[in-house]
Amino acid sequence: MSLTRKLLAASFTLALAACSGASPTMDAGTGGGAGGGTGGGGGELDAGTMPPAEFSYCESKPRTLLTFAPGQEQAIQDAVNTLEECTTLQFAAGTYTFDNAVTIRQKGITLVGAGKGLKGELTGTATSTVFVFTNAAANTNGVDHVGSWFAIRDLALINAKKDALRIESSTNVRIQKLRTEWAVENATTNGAYGIYPVKSTNVLVEDCEAYNAADAGIYVGQTTYAIVRRNVAKQNVAGIEIENTRFADVYENVAEDNTTGLVVFDLPGNPIAGTDVKVHHNTIKNNNRGNFAGVSASSSTVSQVPAGTGTFIMASRRVEVTNNTYENNNSVDVAVLSGLAIESDPSRWMAAGFNFASADIFVHHNTMVGGSGDNVDNGNVDMTLRPFGALIAALYGTDQAMGGTGIVDTLIWDGIDATAMDNLANDINLCFADNTLPAGVTRSIGDLNFIAVQGMLTGANPDFVAAWNKTGHYAQGVAPFNCGAFSPALAEVVLPQ
């Protein structure tokens, strides 16, 4: 780079940074002086000290700190559209009302607020920074980011029109102490996702809270290497969703009061086949919220999930579920499904090498407290909208009518595998062992043999007893489900600094 280019770049940078936060009331005079760093009230360039490097990428680069206060929304919008690399934007406590998405396309950017506040707080307090998007332009996200080395923390994003935080195609992303929330519970028109990193690499989501999303509170999708830990997801359709993702470590989260708590799946047509997902030390309970995802003529996956589903794993491989606590999920604690259950045409799974099968699923050393599987889909079964729930309800209702407990097994799978329907080859290597089960539970694994059973239950003359007899039920630790341990072991997820 020639000296001239450096000079040109430097003068432009300073000029923009110096004024990018200018508030509408800024006195133009205060910006005076060539390259002066003394902008008016806020968006201020801290010229004296360079902020510490947030990322290794920024260590040897010039770094800028811009500070903002409530009322400077337009200045913030102008600033985020003219950012230099390695800029930190710091937002003082209070409420910021935006009429458009905060759209960022730059590397090395950090957004920092004063705190994420508490659930239900729709405006900022003395200790929280809240971005409100209630009256933003149609079809916009809250914070919309593309650019590697990105951090966002100590903020709340309220009532976004679409996703509260959308991050796409970025490497090295840290989402920490963020709260995403919609004010109204159970509203189909709420934004789809709270936290939504997609098509990214090296993603950290920790100490966040996500409430009332119409799809998933916390989603990590089409991503490679992710850590999702110590988050709270409540009142969403899906609490935490790991989708078409490779190498994810998901732990110490609380997924409560969602339609479904914590889910791992691949969608058809997506080019990434998920693998190596470890789900451990999470609390997944009371996920009995009625499904409020839009349903008419829907092809959405989560809209088909029956209320009361703790975890479902679909079209996924090498998934370990261990040391979690499950409690009072009315339909079932853990369900394992083939992707063919939602898209039966194998050719539609071609993009990622026919990744419809679930395989190598190891569910062990969890604690099932009890209260689960006793009220499938809260009793609101609907064969059209949520067919799996209807099938499960019909089967276990039959069990009860025949004198059984009628309690859904702790772990159910659809029995869709490569070999004959009724054999016990367990060729998907589904392993269920060493879990602490509620007192008195003897059987805990249900092979529901969906393909055979569906025909028996949905014909003109449904035969419930025959259908039930086509299913298999086993105690944990029995062959062939007493398998274990991955070979090779699941990859450890380590994120760069």
Binding site: L8, S20, A28, A297, S300, S303
Partner: protein, 395 residues
């Protein structure tokens, strides 16, 4: 001040400071105004049209706070929302434009040095220094669309030395000046529509970064690059009248020395006016509409193409990837159906649903409209209904 560098530096500083906040006392002065303008001859030499760096490279165009400092348009205030291009700025039109909430659009290009290079299928390859402009305006009453027109914004796409960049400018109420608005603006716009109905809409001037949502394409290096959408040969290939002279636009560019490589007539693709039934078949018209409105993302190199595998570019011949009986990867809920296109039935087709709805999270394109384009939705509906019916659920 004849040395380009000596001229450029003070300009940068001045413009940089005035690029933000009210400019009282910070008039950029006369030096600012010719940054990036064609001033061939002043500095001598073959390539003197643009400010140069000492290493011979073209200096980036400095983006002024006031649009008037680029001298693209003649005297203000502009009348009836119509900007009048300066003599070195060439107005152009599109055979079928992208829909933007019914805004009227005035387009022009300045090529200060060199010429655009012909491309048959992609955007013409414009040289460094090129400025494309698009001015968005609304008439008070669409039943009289040339009266009481107000300009809202002018968007610039500038071919900088490092690639294309987008810069939004917002016009003031007096219509005397447009000001650089990198953060975009949201404003209420009201008008009477073509049927006499009163419409008020929350009009979005996209931020600089939001421009990328439409203008980004994945290059051969796998990085995202910003590209213009409109000025492709096929959309320019028709006659317009400029200063009383009726001429094919491609030939006008070539005659002005601003387009090289123009092939013979038979080699020039030609897009039709999607809304003129005399111009082509229903299929051709609908595909043209989808091409200009959707294919900047929905094509293999586009941002949405990779994930959705839905390709709406005019050249796509794969009917499945065009959407016929294609289930979307993750469409979300309540989007009108299970398949992108159900041949014979637009009411079950997600493609149609998305381009007519105004619901957040469901409408397409992702940005650029808050209103439904009735005519476009009708055209696409008619086309889908004309396709031989197919039961997409049949095995």
């Amino acid at each position: 001040m004849s040395h380009p560098l000596r001229r450029a530096l003070p300009v940068l500083v001045l413009l940089g400071l005035s690029a933000c906040g009210p400019s009282a006392g910070m008039d950029a002065g006369p030096d600012a105004v010719d940054a990036g303008r064609g001033d061939a001859g002043v500095d001598g030499g073959v390539d003197a049209g643009l400010p140069r760096l000492p290493d011979g490279g073209v200096a980036p165009l400095v983006i002024p706070r006031q649009l008037s400092d680029l001298h693209l348009f003649k005297a203000v205030p502009i009348v009836d929302g119509q900007v009048q291009p300066e003599d070195d700025v060439i107005p152009y039109e599109m055979a079928t434009p992208l829909f933007s909430d019914y805004a009227l659009k005035t387009r022009s290009v300045r090529i200060p040095e060199g010429a655009a290079t012909w491309s048959r299928d992609e955007v013409l390859d414009f040289p460094v220094g090129t400025i494309l402009t698009k001015t968005f305006s609304f008439p008070a009453d669409f039943r009289e669309p040339s009266k009481n027109v107000r300009a809202v914004e002018t968007r610039l796409l500038v071919r900088q030395p490092t690639g294309w960049e987008a810069y939004p400018y917002v016009w003031n109420a007096e219509q005397t000046e447009a000001t650089f608005a990198p953060g975009g603006r949201v404003m209420d716009v009201s008008f009477i529509d073509a049927d006499g109905g009163a419409v008020t809409t929350q009009y979005l001037v996209p931020s600089k970064n939001q421009c990328q949502e439409c203008h980004h394409v994945k290059g051969e290096d796998s990085e995202q690059h910003l590209l213009p959408i409109g000025p492709k040969a096929r959309y320019l290939n028709f006659e317009t009248t400029v200063k009383g002279v009726k001429q094919n636009q491609l030939e006008r560019f070539a005659a002005l020395g601003k387009l090289t490589g123009l092939p013979q007539l038979s080699e020039r693709p030609k897009a039709i006016d999607a809304f003129d039934a005399a111009h082509g078949s229903l299929e051709e018209r609908a595909r043209t509409y989808l091409d200009i409105n959707c294919a900047h993302c929905h094509r293999p190199e586009g941002t949405a193409g990779e994930t959705s595998q839905l390709f709406l570019d005019y050249g796509n011949v794969d009917r499945f990837r065009l959407g016929e009986c294609k289930r979307p990867g993750s469409a979300g809920s309540d989007v009108g159906g299970e398949f992108d296109i159900v041949p014979g039935d637009h009411t079950q087709s997600i493609l149609w649903f998305r381009l007519q709805t105004t619901e957040s999270g469901k409408m397409m394109p992702l940005i650029g409209r808050a209103l439904s384009h009735q005519e476009g939705a009708h055209l696409v509906a008619e086309w889908i209904d004309s396709l031989p019916p197919k039961d997409c659920r049949a095995p």
